[in-house]
């Protein structure tokens, strides 16, 4: 293990943490971070220092870091004033601390004086073999260690998305989407103004991290594009990487005499770099999370041939329209599959793709049709629409004045069971045949308690709030497969 890698291990999987500058005031960073570390269930050693030695959250504190036993903590979260941090870091290093997250204000972006202080701190860290993250940002999260060392909520469910961001707010946003969807996070860190380590350092750690299966990055400034391309490209061959870039509108136009120079804007160059190195570039925050969540919860498709399965109506039509704008192919139904479905569905079904079951459901229709479609060798991916409808009606009945009488209790429970079964079947078939099966319903947002939505969340699979979002995510997955296939790269091992 390299030195940097050991330091990152201390950052994300510390055996003990020191909160330097713990506060009795519930509005201060030094209170909130201690609160969050304890509340979210971190099981290693926790030490807190406080100048007066006051109790914080009913726990004793240490007046000085010198009271921490040697080797008992390898991560320090720093909330003390910037002026005192040099001494603090030296003392911490002598106690065995290998990584420090510095939340103190007064560094880097504040002013020239702050920049100078930051440079000195970085030099000191290098000298004492410490990894430091200097930021007025939010902190870090590491679910394998039940660690929530940050000064804002949320704490996401455990999962395989590794987040590294130049902005703390984006870390929070991604983790809120994680909570909403149930597709979990392994590690998350905001590297702020990237004094010593940047998003790529974190990404390179994720690439070797057994808990992380996709890197999700937010970047703004790229100081050295060529180095960035080479490093991110090397990671992307081993682990999928999703990037959201802020500030895409500036133009390059350096070589004024050439048309090429004026046409090759910064954004076109960045876009081309992503396409060339197999990086999934998202254009919005939700698209970025959708893509990462899809990558960790679905197998890569082996081709573009997509079937749309819907319980009823127009959803299939607009989904087919959305598909036509992408790399995906809405294949005409193979004859043998059509014949097979004729035996499962009433005569009014669409008899083509999209497969509109026209509400023709008996108790086992949906699972049987799904099996026939997902299992067909001519189909690479499936988008399933129209789940949760019956349990949505059940929710209305459950809240109404007639429940549980008039047979309502029994039928509502039946609907919930059926909707749960449909999406569980989708997941099982997806795993059995190694094909993506994406489930989309606006109930993902409208009613997170809906049986179908809850079942998806329980399975750690992303439930798309709309069919067009499922289409975009599947398109990106297909492009990723194509990129790897053309370069002779094997599937990712997750």
């Amino acid at each position: 293990m390299s030195n940097r890698s050991e330091q990152f291990s201390a950052l994300f999987d510390p055996k003990g943490i020191i909160v330097a500058g713990a506060s009795t005031h519930p509005g201060k960073f030094g209170f909130v971070v201690l609160h969050n570390i304890i509340t979210c269930g971190y099981e290693g050693n926790i030490f807190a220092t406080n100048r007066e030695g006051s109790e914080v959250l009913g726990r004793p504190t240490l007046r000085s870091i010198s009271e921490v036993p040697d080797g008992a903590a390898d991560l320090m979260f720093v909330c003390t004033p910037a002026a005192t941090n040099s001494e603090l870091l030296k003392d911490a290093a002598s106690k065995g601390v290998r990584a420090a997250f510095i939340a103190s204000a007064g560094y880097g972006e504040s002013d020239a004086e702050g920049q100078k202080r930051q440079d000195e701190l970085v030099a000191l860290a290098e000298e004492h073999d410490l990894l430091i993250v200097v930021t007025n940002g939010q902190g870090l999260v590491s679910t394998p260690s039940s660690l929530c060392a940050q000064i804002v909520a949320p704490y996401p469910p455990a999962g395989k998305i590794g987040i590294a961001s130049q902005s703390g707010n984006f870390v929070s946003s991604f983790m809120n989407l994680s909570r909403q969807s149930g597709v979990g996070v392994s590690r998350a860190v905001s590297v702020g103004n990237a004094a010593q380590v940047g998003v790529l350092d974190a990404l390179e750690f994720f690439a070797d991290d057994p808990h992380t299966a996709v890197g999700l990055l937010y970047v703004e400034g790229i100081p050295d594009g060529r180095e960035f391309a080479e490093r991110i490209g090397a990671v992307a061959r081993r682990m999928p990487v999703v990037v959201l870039k802020g500030g895409t509108t500036a133009s390059g136009a350096q070589a004024a005499a050439s048309h090429t120079g004026s046409l090759a804007t910064d954004d076109k160059v960045f876009d081309g770099m992503c396409a060339q190195f197999g990086i999934v570039r998202a254009s919005t925050l939700t698209e970025a999370f959708d893509c990462a969540a899809t990558i960790v919860s679905q197998p890569l498709p082996r081709g573009p041939r997509t079937a749309v399965v819907t319980t009823v109506g127009g959803w299939g039509v607009v989904t087919a329209d959305a598909l036509s704008q992408t790399s995906l192919e809405l294949l005409p139904l193979p004859e043998d599959l059509r014949d097979h479905l004729d035996t499962l569905l009433p005569p009014r079904w669409s008899r083509n793709n999209p497969i509109d079951m026209a509400g023709g459901e008996t108790k086992d229709t949906v699972p049987e049709v799904l099996r026939a479609v997902v299992g067909h060798p001519g189909i690479d991916a499936v988008i399933m629409l129209g789940v949760g409808i019956q349990s949505n009606q059940g929710a209305l009945e459950r809240r109404g004045p007639f429940y549980p009488d008039h047979g309502l209790e029994r039928i509502v429970a039946f609907h919930d069971r059926q909707d749960r079964r449909y999406v569980e079947t989708a997941t099982e078939l997806s795993m059995e045949f190694g094909k993506p099966v994406l489930v989309a319903t606006e109930l993902a947002i409208a009613d997170p308690d809906n049986a179908a939505v809850a079942a998806m969340r329980d399975a750690g699979r992303f439930c798309y709030p709309s069919a067009d979002r499922a289409v975009v995510a599947l398109d990106r997955l297909n492009r990723l497969h194509t990129w790897r296939d053309r370069r002779g790269l094997p599937a990712f091992d997750s």
């Binding site: 594009g225 391309a229 050439s258 048309h259 046409l263 160059v269 960045f270 081309g272 396409a275 053309r486």
Partner: protein
């Protein structure tokens, strides 16, 4: 600070990289221009060529569709008369006239952040307004080059078009890979324009070239 090479010198620099230029001749007098036209075959195009001349079309220094010796003689006289002292040493370039309903632009530019890059786009007078361009970092593989072609939004221009065959993708890839090799070969090259890159019977033909160098 950058300077441009003349069209002839630009093509000379690019020659080892297998880019598709027309057979053309560089001459000093109207009479030599006529002889050159007879050698390459009518109709021809005549252009004034010199190190300091970057954008010939805007200055009327390109004479198209010259069908007879008389046309070529007159064009040669006019072009040489239009030269200004700032243009330095000038010559007349005579090349076969080709026409195409499809024009692309291909080039390479050294990006200040990402280093050498290769660009492919839809060309013609609306190129900058349409801005249908794709960029990749050099060095470029053949797979990268194929994906560049595939990534253009205007795919109808790449397929069969107005009775003309589909663009020869292998030939277009060779142009892109050649540009990649050209810009990575020499640190001082700031940019290369092949504009327009005409599609003639499906084959890309660079009818102009402009190489820009960084002055040390």
């Amino acid at each position: 600070m950058t300077t441009t090479l003349s069209e002839a010198q630009s093509k000379l620099f690019l020659e080892p990289f297998g880019l598709p230029f027309l057979p053309e001749r560089l001459v000093n007098t109207p009479q030599q221009a006529v002889e050159a036209a007879e050698a390459v075959g009518f109709p021809v195009v005549a252009k004034l060529c010199g190190d300091a001349i970057a954008h010939k079309t805007e200055r009327g220094l390109v004479k198209l569709g010259l069908r007879t010796s008389t046309d070529v003689m007159r064009a040669g006289e006019e072009l040489l008369a239009a030269a200004t002292p700032e243009d330095g040493t000038v010559q007349v370039l005579v090349a076969p006239m080709v026409s195409a309903s499809r024009e692309l632009i291909a080039g390479a530019v050294r990006d200040p952040q990402f280093g050498p890059t290769v660009l492919l786009g839809v060309g013609g007078i609306l190129a900058e307004a349409i801005s249908d361009v794709v960029v990749r970092l050099a060095p470029l593989t053949v797979v990268d080059a194929h994906e560049m072609i595939e990534s253009l939004a205007s795919q109808t221009l790449i397929g069969e078009f107005r009775g003309e065959p589909e663009v020869n993708r292998a030939a277009l890839c060779a142009v892109l890979v050649g540009l990649s090799e050209a810009i990575t070969s020499t640190e001082s090259i700031a940019s290369i324009d092949l504009n327009p890159l005409m599609i003639v019977d499906g084959m890309p033909i660079a009818v102009d070239a402009l190489v820009e160098r960084t002055q040390r």
